[in-house]
């Protein structure tokens, strides 16, 4: 029994190590690639080179990277703030004021999670043209303000919030809105953090909707830039790598900064 356990442990470590290396390796390669010439990137040179300055010159010289970075940040931050407010309020309304009709509406909302984004591509594009919001960041932010997944995520977490506290606050005379703002929301900090990471990630990494709705260079976001650079006839792979690093780094920093919240938040929502 002991020996079987030891063997199992060794296999487990070996398996996890392989998975770990496979997962992390492309990150190492993208950072190394940023410092190498285009041809070296393709051939898979695994050591740091001396082309970092040159790649950055190409990236920043040929593309308006600062503006694009600012676009991405602006869209992501506004989307996150909006989504957290709208979705957490909705989840609160569904979880703490349960009525039959509201449960039915909630069911419908959940059902709409199954509607793929691609199915909305055509009508949303036409709507934005009609509203005069094509090529505006406002249009893109507006359509992503209400996220069904994040409503679901919040509601699952709210289930763990003790309802007696709310009853007690009511008895003490607190208004409904105040109960939400100053009692429930602050207590669910981890959930908000996890939802914020998720929302930021989704918005920051979005490709399809920005591709359709933001067609001018002025309005572009980072994924659009990376995609355009790589689809050139002679891609400058070193510069592409620099752009990939630039678009990935903020996510990594945010994730490492808020990692514990993220795991805590997901654990809270999985619990029922």
């Amino acid at each position: 029994m002991k020996r079987r356990n030891l063997l199992f442990k060794i296999c487990a470590y070996a398996f996890l190590s392989i998975a770990f290396v496979a997962s992390v390796f492309p990150f190492y390669w993208m950072i190394v690639g940023m410092t190498n010439a285009a041809i070296e990137v393709i051939q898979g040179k695994m050591t740091f080179g001396r082309h970092l300055a040159q790649n950055l010159t190409i990236l920043f010289g040929q593309f308006d990277v600062v503006r694009i970075f600012f676009n991405s940040s602006k869209i992501a931050i506004l989307t996150v703030i909006g989504q957290l407010i709208v979705s957490s309020m909705a989840a609160y309304g569904f979880e703490f004021y349960v009525t039959k009709s509201r449960e039915k509406v909630y069911g419908l909302v959940m059902l709409s999670m199954m509607v793929p984004l691609a199915a909305l591509m055509v009508p949303l594009f036409r709507m934005m043209v009609k509203f005069g919001l094509l090529n505006t960041h406002a249009g893109l932010i507006l359509i992503s303000l209400a996220s069904v997944f994040i409503i679901f995520f919040f509601r699952q977490s709210f289930k763990t919030f003790p309802k007696e506290i709310i009853q007690a606050a009511r008895v003490d005379g607190a208004g409904e809105f105040r109960i939400f703002c100053s009692i429930v929301a602050p207590a669910m900090k981890a959930t908000y953090a996890a939802a914020a990471i998720y929302a930021f990630m989704t918005s920051w990494n979005a490709y399809m909707m920005p591709l359709i709705l933001l067609q001018t260079n002025q309005q572009k976001t980072l994924p659009l830039l990376v995609s355009t650079m790589a689809s050139a006839y002679f891609p400058e792979y070193g510069a592409v790598m620099a752009a990939i690093v630039l678009s990935t780094l903020p996510m990594i920093l945010i994730f490492f900064g808020l990692q514990n919240y993220f795991v805590q938040g997901i654990t809270g929502s999985v619990k029922q």
Binding site: G44, Y97, V109, A146, Y207, P223, V226, V240, V263
Partner: protein
């Protein structure tokens, strides 16, 4: 009736029924913003595209065709190709990825394991990359003279470079490998969270009863995680059926490519919708029909998965 501003409505003690009613209103108030937005940007588009799907348009010329588009769909070789590609991804990649995620999660759940945090963080890391970035990363790694081929040849595992991106079979394999890299850690986190809610004594008593690891996995882990397994399966199904970023960025020249992957082997339904609207002469009507095909398939697969899980919630 006007309220005296000095006494807010919550303090006056209304009869029970009207208190319920006013509470009920608050519930709708909290939900109203989301419902309004969802109605405008989700419900309305779904309904309007149902109408659109009965129209055939070539540029500005529009003709009502009724079910014509739906009939056209069933005889459209490009659509059938997209459907086939999607099914291949769905049937092969999703099960492999979910099983892998489950195995990793249950290994990481072992509290006596060292470096758990490091493993967990590293394996989750791919999930923060953008779909565009990782697609391009993998496209570079798997290019004909890229380092995967170089490496495999250096190890004498292959004699000639594998045509990863230029042959339909290998192109699909490459995308599957890439997708597995990107999403396994993501699913693992859900499983890990679920596993933490399974009481340890279940495993302890199973061990005392002499159940091996594999048996514990089959008889405790899998059944206890059923709701989460179902959730990830459905999310992966939805994700696979609307695959877009990867094929767009894997294909030779991205947006300007004539085909998506070698011989359209990576063409998916979402990409086809995009092409119908933004690449060729726009045919919004037919594109809406394809969109409805995706909605239909997502619904069918979700129902099947609910049934297989044998669970109502």
């Amino acid at each position: 009736m006007l309220h005296n501003p000095a006494t807010p409505p919550a303090k006056t003690r209304p009869p029970f029924a009207s208190f319920e009613k006013s509470q009920n209103r608050y519930g709708w108030f909290f939900a109203s913003f989301a419902l309004l937005l969802l109605g405008l940007f989700m419900l309305y588009p779904i309904i309007s595209s149902l109408y659109m799907s009965t129209i055939s348009s070539r540029g500005v010329i529009q003709t009502f065709v009724g079910f014509g588009n739906y009939l056209k769909l069933l005889n459209d070789p490009v659509f059938l190709q997209a459907l086939q590609n999607t099914f291949i991804f769905f049937l092969i990649q999703v099960p492999i990825m979910l099983l892998l995620a489950l195995v990793i999660a249950s290994l990481l759940n072992d509290k006596s394991l060292r470096f758990r945090g490091v493993f967990r963080t590293g394996i989750f890391l791919p999930a923060v990359t953008s779909l565009v970035a990782y697609s391009l990363l993998f496209k570079m790694m798997f290019s004909a003279d890229g380092f995967i081929n170089h490496g495999l040849m250096a190890l004498h595992l292959i004699a000639a470079p594998i045509p990863w991106l230029t042959e339909p079979f290998w192109a699909r394999i490459t995308v599957m490998i890439a997708m597995t890299w990107r999403w396994t850690g993501y699913n693992m986190i859900f499983y890990l969270s679920g596993l933490q809610n399974i009481p340890d004594d279940l495993y302890e008593s199973a061990e005392i009863d002499g159940a091996g690891r594999l048996q514990q996995f089959r008889h405790i882990t899998v059944p206890m995680l059923k709701p989460i397994l179902l959730f990830t399966a459905i999310m992966s199904t939805i994700g696979t059926l609307q695959l877009f970023d990867e094929p767009m960025n894997f294909s030779a020249m991205g947006v300007s490519a004539a085909t998506i992957g070698p011989g359209n082997s990576l063409l998916t339904m979402s990409v086809y919708i995009y092409n119908l609207c933004f690449k060729f002469m726009p045919n919004f009507g037919y594109a809406s029909t394809v969109a409805y095909a995706i909605v239909f398939l997502v619904a069918v697969f979700s129902v099947i998965q609910f049934r297989l899980a044998g669970d109502k919630k």
